[in-house]
């Protein structure tokens, strides 16, 4: 088991740093280039949702991203200390409605095998995402 933790604050400029790090972690975990880009997207969307919804775009607040590479899966845990988000309200919108917004949750759920939202004890939210490792390592650098 390998564990990597990234601490950032709720500044959208840090999202690029998150994406680069998640791409590298997914590479180490053995995912293909296309799968890596999807995992990067899911984590980026999750962090963007924290900034927009839990922190209401207020900068300087903590986001902790913990990645664990296990034998069979990559688990990514994202914790914030923002306002508790109504978990029932977190759902993908129907895709036949052509309108901006609400696509992030759909993307996260499309990409990851398992997605669960929960509240932290006092304040804050937790999103745990899991994706099974590929059975065979991709042949690429």
């Amino acid at each position: 088991v390998q564990k990597i933790q990234l601490h950032i604050t709720s500044d959208p400029r840090f999202l690029r740093l998150v994406r680069t790090t998640i791409d590298q972690i997914s590479f180490i975990a053995g995912f293909s280039k296309l799968d890596r880009s999807k995992i990067v997207l899911a984590v980026d969307e999750a962090c963007s949702n924290v900034i927009r919804h839990a922190y209401k775009e207020k900068p300087g607040l903590p986001i902790i991203i913990t990645c664990i590479i296990r034998k069979h899966e990559l688990a990514i845990d994202i914790i914030d200390q923002g306002e508790k988000v109504d978990i029932k309200s977190i759902k993908p919108r129907p895709l036949d409605e052509i309108r901006p917004g609400g696509l992030g949750v759909h993307l996260i759920k499309s990409v990851m095998d398992n997605v669960s939202y929960s509240h932290l004890e006092k304040v804050g939210n937790r999103l745990l995402m899991r994706k099974s490792l590929p059975k065979e390592a991709p042949i690429e650098s």
């Binding site: 959208p12 400029r13 999202l15 690029r16 994406r19 296309l34 880009s37 999807k38 990067v40 997207l41 980026d44 969307e45 963007s48 900034i51 927009r52 895709l95 052509i98 309108r99 901006p100 917004g101 696509l103 992030g104 759909h106 993307l107 499309s110 990409v111």
Partner: protein, 105 residues
């Protein structure tokens, strides 16, 4: 050929940079630009805030019977459109040349 305005964007479109794209697109739709061709060939990454901006532009353009067309999507960017099933909503061309040729036809 219809009057086409080509917009070339580059880099990564995310929560930080999409407001810049939004300003540009809405400036063009506000002035009722007949055809807006957005070339994404140099865009390495786009998240849902970028996609949402393009949907907003598409809908604004439809209000005055204009068109918003996309070209040059890299595999990773196309994937976002496919996952959200928006690849069927937008007119998408392989590159800007193909889009311009189609508009001229």
């Amino acid at each position: 050929m219809e009057n086409v305005t080509l917009v070339e964007i580059s880099g990564e479109v995310d929560l930080y940079s999409s407001p810049q794209l939004r300003r540009k697109v809405l400036e063009l739709t506000k002035s009722k630009t007949p055809v807006i061709l957005i070339d994404l060939k140099n865009v390495r990454y786009m998240d849902s805030s970028g996609v949402a901006t393009l949907i907003e532009g598409l809908k604004s353009s439809h209000q005055y019977n204009g068109r918003l067309i996309l070209s040059g999507l890299k595999l990773e960017v196309r994937e976002v459109f496919e996952l959200t099933r928006l690849d069927t909503v937008f007119e998408i061309y392989a590159d800007s040349q193909a889009a311009l040729e189609s508009l001229a036809a």
